[in-house]
């Protein structure tokens, strides 16, 4: 059985050594990068095939948020788990916006860290299987029913398993968080969803927070799904409340004709 390779980007030596010991005990092969530059070198230049990356936010020089953004911008979509000293919702959302797939505030429980890493690896494994054309089990939603794998609207196709949005010949890679938000909005097609409910239902954040932090995600999703992001037709702002996803942007035809789900 091949070992899963994990890269730990952490400048705190004691923490990095402790993580290495535990992850090696869990049959991971572990590399440590002490700063973002070293991590970029390993992931982008040397193209080392890591299965998952653990990134501390507060690194010397370039921070963890910038590292995640750089990796995503360079097309490196390895799952990223971010470790944050400040676990407030704004910081967590900033991490997600930068391209992280999961977060864990310090101090963390070892068992939780390992469980989350394994969950990210499972998700990556599903993705690989899908991309290789294999069959996967249908993911089950929080609502307890099967979620469609493919959604089509207005000439665009969202593949929630491959984490891709296809529009003509153009394909955009979605992060897990972007896909989750999009799925949530589509599930509430034609209905207003508040920023607070997005925070709670999509990211499980229940703290008092500046809910406008979600706006960054919305701006990005608009770039993906709107022909003119400054004049959104599908993902519209409901002032003072939140957002509304409208698959039938023209408002003429029935929803069932516009939004097609394939499982």
């Amino acid at each position: 059985m091949t070992k899963n390779a994990v890269l730990i980007v952490e400048d705190e030596k004691h923490l990095a050594d402790g993580l290495r010991f535990n992850l090696e005990a869990e049959r991971f092969s572990v590399d440590i990068a002490v700063d973002a530059e070293t991590a970029e070198d390993l992931l982008l230049k040397q193209r080392k095939p890591y299965d998952v990356v653990v990134v501390d936010v507060m690194l010397p020089g370039k921070n963890g948020f910038s590292l995640a953004s750089t990796l995503r911008a360079a097309g490196q979509f390895v799952p990223i788990l971010m470790l944050t000293a400040r676990g407030e919702a704004q910081d967590v959302l900033r991490g997600f916006a930068a391209g992280a797939d999961d977060y864990l505030p310090k101090p963390f429980e070892l068992a939780v860290l390992i469980a989350r890493l394994k969950a990210l690896l499972r998700r990556r494994e599903w993705l690989r299987t899908v991309q290789a054309g294999g069959k996967t089990r249908q993911p089950i939603t929080a609502e307890g029913k099967d979620e469609p794998k493919l959604i089509e609207f207005d000439g665009k196709t969202i593949d929630f398993e491959a984490l891709e949005l296809r529009s003509g010949n153009h394909t955009v890679r979605l992060t897990v968080m972007e896909a989750d938000l999009l799925r949530y909005l589509i599930r509430h097609d034609g209905r207003i969803v508040s920023r607070r409910s997005i925070l709670e239902d999509v990211w499980g954040l229940r703290e008092d927070t500046d809910t406008r932090a979600i706006d960054n995600f919305i701006v990005r999703l608009r770039k993906y799904i709107e022909d003119e992001p400054s004049q959104p037709r599908h993902l519209v702002t409901v002032r003072g409340v939140g957002y509304k996803f409208i698959s039938n942007a023209k408002g003429q035809r029935g929803k069932s004709e516009e939004l097609r789900a394939k499982s």
Partner: protein, 280 residues
């Protein structure tokens, strides 16, 4: 010329109402401009203060939570896994070092809080300066694993036995902060020299010089402000709360002394000098 003045004065006398309005308008306009400038200045200052405050909260949170995370990780590891004796000893050492770091941050924050109280009186005992400087040096050598070449000490004969009046813990913290900074902001090759000198008969000076990353000229005074950290990539590589030099300045000033920094600029190293009044 005389004709022009006469014409102007004549016009003013004839049109004094318009002139009065014009003057009032000018005064009003100037008041608005000054108000705008003041408002912008205060706004910028407030934004900077908020940014520094945010950076401080980030840094302190990190400095508090990281050692706790590390200690917790090792405790969980020791509780749940089979660890051989050698590893176990290493884990204990790491936890001890992390608890030291935690304690240092807590003390630094509490000391900065005390330093903010200007009227707070300090303890008033007679302190042997060479003795506590040597003590702080030994501590720094042990903490950072440095030998006498990397962290050297010179004591001028005139300064030998110099005494000051004040709080020994506070002064120890001030000297240690300067030594910690000199090591932290040095390159891989650490070369820090400490000098104890007499300035006339009434003052004693402690100089801490390093060959590290240096300080831009414009920042030499600002670095003593609370929460202030020199911006830029060089500094971003070294973690800190922005409290160390603020504590040094507060402690030194409460002891009737002064502290200042000198540097030829980035990459040229820096020298910090504490001057304190001697007592007989």
């Amino acid at each position: 010329m005389a004709l022009a003045i006469a014409l102007n004065v004549g016009w003013i006398i004839l049109n004094w109402r318009e002139v009065a309005l014009l003057v009032l308008g000018l005064i009003f306009f100037l008041a608005i401009i000054i108000g705008l400038v003041l408002n912008t200045t205060f706004l910028i200052r407030e934004i900077r203060r908020n940014e520094q405050h945010d950076a401080f909260i980030n840094a302190v949170t990190h400095e508090l939570k990281t050692p706790i995370a590390s200690i917790r990780l090792y405790l969980e590891t020791l509780k749940t896994r089979d660890v051989d004796e050698q590893q176990r000893t290493k884990f204990y050492d790491n936890m001890l070092a992390d608890s030291e770091r935690l304690l240092f941050t807590v003390e630094q924050v509490l000391r900065a809080g005390r330093a903010g109280h200007r009227r707070r009186k300090i303890a008033n005992s007679v302190i042997d300066v060479p003795e506590i400087v040597r003590e702080c040096l030994e501590l720094a050598r042990t903490r950072y694993g440095l030998d006498e070449n990397s962290l050297s000490y010179v004591e001028a004969p005139e300064a030998s036995g110099a005494k000051v009046s004040g709080d020994i813990d506070e002064l120890r913290a001030a000297f240690s902060n300067l030594l910690d900074n000199a090591v932290k902001y040095s390159d891989a090759q650490i070369s820090v020299s400490v000098e104890l000198a007499a300035i006339g008969e009434k003052r004693v000076a402690v100089r801490v010089a390093d060959k590290g990353i240096g300080i831009p000229n414009a920042q030499l005074k600002r670095i003593f402000k609370r929460f202030y950290r020199v911006p830029g990539m060089f500094m971003a590589r070294v973690k800190g709360t922005g409290l160390g030099l603020f504590i040094v300045r507060s402690v030194v000033e409460k002891h009737g002394g002064r502290v200042f920094a000198e540097s030829r600029g980035l990459g040229q190293g820096s020298t910090f000098t504490i001057q304190l009044p001697r007592v007989s």
